[in-house]
């Protein structure tokens, strides 16, 4: 899995940090998403998918091609 974020789109709601705190963080000054791990281990994939699904601003893109996992 390859995780990509779009800081321009991010509205700082913080769902991703709640869903997958090992993969996403927020900038202190404005709460905008920071990517901690672009290639998270398999055990975090479900949490990352949850984060992408609840992101209100569609700021998380997932490439789930198995050869790039």
């Amino acid at each position: 899995m390859l995780v990509q974020i779009d800081q321009e789109k991010c509205c700082g709601a913080g769902h991703c940090v709640l869903a997958a705190p090992d993969v996403f963080d927020q900038r202190d000054e404005d709460g905008i998403v920071v990517l901690l791990d672009a290639r998270p281990p398999a055990e975090l994939h479900q949490a990352v998918q949850d984060a992408a699904a609840v992101c209100p601003a569609a700021a998380i893109q997932l490439d789930q091609a198995p050869d790039r996992a």
Binding site: C11, G12, A13, V17, Q26, D28, A53, P56, A57
Partner: protein
Amino acid sequence: MATAAQTPRFTHPAARGTCPFAPPPAYRQAQQEEPVSRITLWDGSASWLATRHEDVKAVLADPRFSADSTRPGFPFLTAGVRQLNAGRPTFIRMDDPEHARLRRMLTGDFVIKKVEALRPRIQRIADDLLDRMTADGRTGADLVREFALPLPSLVICLLLGVPYQDHEFFQECSRVMLRRESSAEEVGAAQDRLVDYLNRLTEAKRTQPDDGILSRLVERGELTTAEIGAMGRLLLVAGHETTANMTALSVLALLRNPDQLDHLRRHPEAVTGAVEELLRYLTIVHSGLGRVATEDVDLGAVRIRAGEGVVCMISTANRDEDEFPDGDELDLTRDARRHLAFGFGVHQCLGQPLARLELQIALATLLRRLPELRLAVPFEDVRFRGDMLIYGVHELPLAW
């Protein structure tokens, strides 16, 4: 494809049915039969009503649906709401990029880590309120007045730098502003008084700064006093009314679902998920969220034309059977995180991390400290807030 030529089948607001926790039956009917339907608003104007989870989410996430209330066709839900947005609206009624510029001045205050750091202070506030509520062997109180309303009011005052001793004043202003039947004049006057108050407070921060949000916005130097005052008004009202009503309504819903209450008592660690399910089930922003199309957009089976309004009914979306099977059941073990109680899209509630934390602390503390908690009046006598823009109960007399 259906268009606006149809005659509206529903009116807004529709009456609630027998279950006071459930959205109006007419909207559930719309969801089944005609998920994007025409409605008539209070002023006789027509708008679209979106009732399904998928459609509501699509509208709120789509920049072609504008939140800008100065655009012709924007659906105001009451005369008072139109008045609230007369003059210069706050950023929640703007679109990007201006919306994002202003919102980002505040998002730093609601970063998950920073909100989590407030936990000990909010816990102390909750404990202090319950100490007072149960002092001298008292065995009953109105939860709204003594706990549900003061808790978030104290917290938002702390964050903004607003003196809590003025709470009767600002709570009365917000009551008038959020009453559905308030006239435009009454709403305008209440808003003016509150904005004057916040403008004066903002001016005072120029000479006596503190570590609150108002003071920080002053120091930032990018906004006028009036702009900061308007932002403060938004945060102050949104910051206490919503959590207060969610807290009281959640307690009532739990008391009416004893198996769920029992589950939460036995699994206090499940409070995080329980709060999400209560947010879904209760959806206190029961009047819906307005948007206006900036170009023609197809939504489900209908074509919404540029300049037509859409009311997004998040309460019915949160009970959409396709998204939440048995959605009319309160099930605290459900994964309810996809609910739309805080809205969706870039305008989704700014203060939601704070609301979640307050609700988690409020419910966990109440249940832990008052194991015998029960309703002190017949359920039929509880006064629900059908007359207010934010749903809830006017009072919640409890005994323990």
